[in-house]
């Protein structure tokens, strides 16, 4: 395309975008107090205490989102007029970047604490003592307003000591986020790091969804959790809290119509891939997806062979078992099975989420591949077995040389299809916080508010993976069977 054509395309696209935004039909509003919210649509995170706060009012339409960034997105997309979130999450720079501005600050603040396992009093006392002795406000200010970094007193870490395991649940500045060098930083991270140094223990950082983190804390898989942990009564029943280390005020934000934020494609790609080394995240996500897919296929196929043997058993009860199993597994959504295995069956064990995922997919794949194996093998005419036996082959030999190649010719294409289906099915593991390709691209979207680039990248990678998978399985096709037979 010539330069001129490229420019024209950009202009047309921009006009389309403008029309689209104009068509959403929202007038710019600017409420300046909670009273002025009357008659507006307010977006906020589902489960946040803002929701409880606003739900009580009849004159506000509430738009609930999965997380805070989505609430911001709702306003940008014109689905809501205002959104409310923790004030400190959006500094000047952030507001300018996303084209929003703060209209006012709410009145009621709430305390943020660290979460500790119930009954772990020693750690709690130690943490509270640390917080009392540390200039928390100065540290907070460094991250929210960019004031000077607070120096740390000298410390010595004993590498042999039991590590302090810390799980944080938000990936957002200024609380806990990854900087350009790939290091985790932020208010919570900083404080805990200092705490660990003071204790002389090495620090282990993990990130999980809040629900998983709470489970991990209760079961003793970790020592501390944090990231916007509000002290609520419900939570106090299951975990202990440290003393609050700062108070958070709600901020109400609207779209800043004056803002000019059309980033060029290059800037957008950079933002999505380069900043904070996000391409590395994608790489890890890709690896995770490949790992889960391959092991699920291997384990699932092995179980599928067992299933197939059982299905052809002479004993009726064994055959009935396979029908039961198929029916059971086939009747529930894979996601439900995954959640049951993760949150119920394997809950108290230390089994990592990835293994649970592999087990889930293998169980489902066993049923589908087992049925496929069985029908492929059954479709080979029995006369061929008779012929093989009459020549003097043993049953094993007849199966290996005569039945199997023909069964594979018939069943391999469908098997490849099932494998690609499994590959696509692994995209649900984000629900148990496994950072696979889909989840990672969604995380990036949540951080950058750019849906197209990360999801497009993920799609392209999935295409490639599916192609590679089909090709790989095609290699298994027995030789000399590529000649199509005339029937």
């Amino acid at each position: 395309m010539t330069r001129f054509e490229v420019d024209m395309m950009k202009r047309i696209l921009f006009l389309l975008l403008v029309c689209l935004t104009a068509c959403t039909g929202r007038k710019a509003v600017e409420p300046h107090s909670e009273a002025e919210l009357a008659g507006l649509t307010v977006a906020c995170r589902n489960g946040s205490h803002y929701q409880t706060m606003l739900e009580q009012r009849d004159d506000i339409r509430l738009f609930l989102t999965n997380n805070d960034p989505d609430a911001l997105l709702a306003v940008r997309q014109g689905r809501a007029d205002v959104f409310v979130t923790d004030e400190m999450l959006l500094g000047e720079a952030e507001m300018a970047r996303w084209g929003v501005k703060k209209v006012f600050r709410g009145e009621d603040s709430y305390p943020i604490c660290f979460g500790i396992r119930k009954g772990n009093d020693e750690l709690r006392r130690s943490l509270n003592a640390f917080l009392a002795a540390t200039p928390v406000e100065a540290i907070v200010s460094h991250y929210t307003h960019g004031t000077a970094a607070v120096p740390e007193p000298p410390y010595e870490v004993n590498p042999k000591a039991k590590p302090l395991r810390f799980v944080f649940t938000t990936n957002m500045a200024p609380v806990s986020y990854m900087d350009e060098d790939g290091k985790w930083v932020g208010i919570d991270i900083d404080l805990i790091r200092r705490f660990a140094h003071r204790l002389g223990r090495p620090l282990e950082l993990h990130t999980q969804a809040l629900s998983s983190a709470l489970v991990a804390l209760q079961s003793g898989q970790c020592d501390l959790i944090a990231s916007y942990l509000e002290l609520t009564e419900e939570r106090q029943q299951i975990i202990d809290f440290s003393l609050p280390y700062y108070d958070v005020y709600p901020g109400f934000f609207v779209l800043d119509s004056g803002a000019n934020e059309s980033a060029t494609m290059r800037e957008r790609v950079a933002m999505n891939l380069k900043t904070e080394n996000r391409w590395m995240m994608i790489g890890h996500g890709l690896l995770e997806t490949i790992l889960i897919t391959l092991f699920s296929i291997l384990l699932g196929s092995a179980l599928g062979c067992l299933f197939c043997r059982a299905k052809g058993s002479k004993r009726e009860w064994v055959r009935n078992l396979t029908t039961l199993y198929s029916g059971f597994i086939g009747s529930m959504p894979t996601l439900v099975l995954l959640l049951i295995l993760y949150y119920v069956v394997f809950a108290r064990t230390g089994i990592p989420a990835t293994i649970v995922a592999i087990i889930t997919f293998a169980l489902c794949f066993a049923s589908s591949s087992g049925n496929l194996f069985y029908s492929s093998i059954s479709s080979v005419p029995k006369g061929q077995v008779e012929a093989g036996l009459s020549l003097g082959f043993t049953r094993m030999q007849t199966f290996r040389y005569i039945v199997l190649p023909q069964a594979m010719k018939k069943g391999l294409p469908a098997f490849a299809g099932d494998c690609v289906g499994l590959l696509k099915g692994t995209s649900i593991v984000g629900y148990i916080s496994i950072h696979d390709l889909t989840h990672v691209s969604d995380l990036i979207r949540a951080r950058t508010f750019d849906a197209i680039i990360p999801l497009l990248v993920a799609t392209v990678i999935y295409f490639f993976l599916a192609w590679a998978l089909r090709k790989g399985i095609g290699l298994l096709m027995p030789k000399d069977l590529s000649t199509p037979s005339k029937s």
């Binding site: 006369g383 012929a387 020549l391």
Partner: protein
């Protein structure tokens, strides 16, 4: 070479009842014999054949091959089967291998022949059955007769001592039966011990040294072809070997569907491999019905064929008639077209039989 003692085979039906397929079968088979097993369908012929190489283990009884009891529990059957070649009604060629591979596969894998040697031998065999030009094609592209010839070659590749052939031509179009029978005739002439279950009575008579007639799961008669075909002892045997195939038409009035008759006759003749006679038979029927017996209705027309003798006859039967409906003029017209005219009274009326 093979001895069968008190062989019984029962199958359990899906509804629980027992079906006896073989009942107290005793038999001895000697080297060099060519034995045809004939009999009506369901008489247990195929099952009997399958017990000889233990593809179908008997419910009770013993089978001895060269003195060894192959029905014994730990008998090495795979080894036994090297020496017993089997040819099936449905060919059972390995669809995923070429013709050549079908033949060389077992010798290479089981007899440990080298690939080259196995291929050489395979080509010899293909020459013998007349299928050399198709060595590198897949079975799906072959006709039935060609497949069966390859199947014979495949069985021969293992250098068996005895060949078991289970209705080898039953699945074939009548046009292809000849080519396979020719191969089998060659085998017999070369001295191969053969056990052949077949419906081709003429062939059985020509080629076999011995005929076994089975019915209802047992051996009724066992003897030379002459004994069985010329002088059968049991009435069942007699009825079987002389069985007549027939086609009947009842003509009540002049409104009958003669295209349907034409189709039925054609089908009948193709089925019994006497296609050449179909048109002739039809022309004769038309002529007799419309010319010579025009005023005689109702009249029954019957087309019969006896395989053993090769005789085909057209019968025109009228009830309650005491004398021949044909005049001399009729006979003059008909006589050149047929082999013979037989006019005879029957218990019910009169019959004019034309042999064609």
């Amino acid at each position: 070479m093979i001895r069968v003692e008190h062989l019984n085979k029962t199958f359990r039906q899906p509804d629980g009842s027992l079906l006896t397929v073989l009942h107290d079968v005793n038999c001895e088979i000697h080297k060099g014999e060519v034995i045809s097993i004939i009999g009506p369908s369901g008489s247990g012929k195929s099952t009997f054949l399958h017990t000889l190489n233990m593809l179908e283990p008997p419910t009770s009884g013993k089978v001895y091959v060269n003195g060894e009891d192959i029905t014994a529990p730990d008998y090495p059957l795979a080894k036994l089967r090297h020496k017993m070649g089997m040819v099936f009604q449905n060919f059972n060629l390995f669809d995923h291998m070429t013709v050549l591979e079908n033949i060389t596969f077992a010798p290479v894998k089981l007899l440990h022949l080298s690939q080259t040697r196995a291929e050489q031998e395979a080509m010899e065999l293909l020459k013998r059955v007349g299928m050399v030009h198709k060595a590198d094609v897949y079975p799906a592209t072959l006709s039935g007769g060609q497949k069966q010839r390859v199947a014979i070659a495949r069985a021969l590749a293992m250098h068996p001592d005895v060949m078991l052939l289970d209705e080898p031509t039953s699945s074939l179009d009548p046009t292809m039966v000849g080519e396979v029978l020719a191969v089998m005739r060659g085998l017999a002439q070369d001295g191969m011990t053969m056990l052949l279950v077949t419906h081709q009575l003429r062939f059985a008579r020509d080629v076999s040294s011995r005929i076994i007639f089975m019915k209802d799961g047992g051996i009724y008669e066992d003897g030379t072809p002459e004994q069985i075909f010329e002088f059968p002892i049991h009435s069942a045997t007699k009825a079987f070997v002389n069985r007549i195939k027939k086609l009947l038409f009842e003509i009540d009035s002049d409104d009958f569907d003669f295209y349907e008759i034409h189709t039925d006759i054609t089908r009948f003749c193709i089925k019994y491999n006497i296609q050449a006679k179909a048109e002739h038979a039809f022309t004769l029927i038309k002529e007799v019905l419309f010319l010579h017996t025009r005023h005689i209705r109702p009249i029954t027309v019957r087309l019969t064929h006896t395989e053993m003798t090769g005789v085909t006859a057209l019968d025109f039967m009228v009830e309650n008639l005491n004398e021949t409906p044909l005049t001399d003029a009729d006979r003059v017209k008909i006589r050149p077209q047929v082999n013979d005219i037989i006019e005879e009274r029957t218990t019910r009326g009169f019959r004019v039989k034309l042999l064609i």
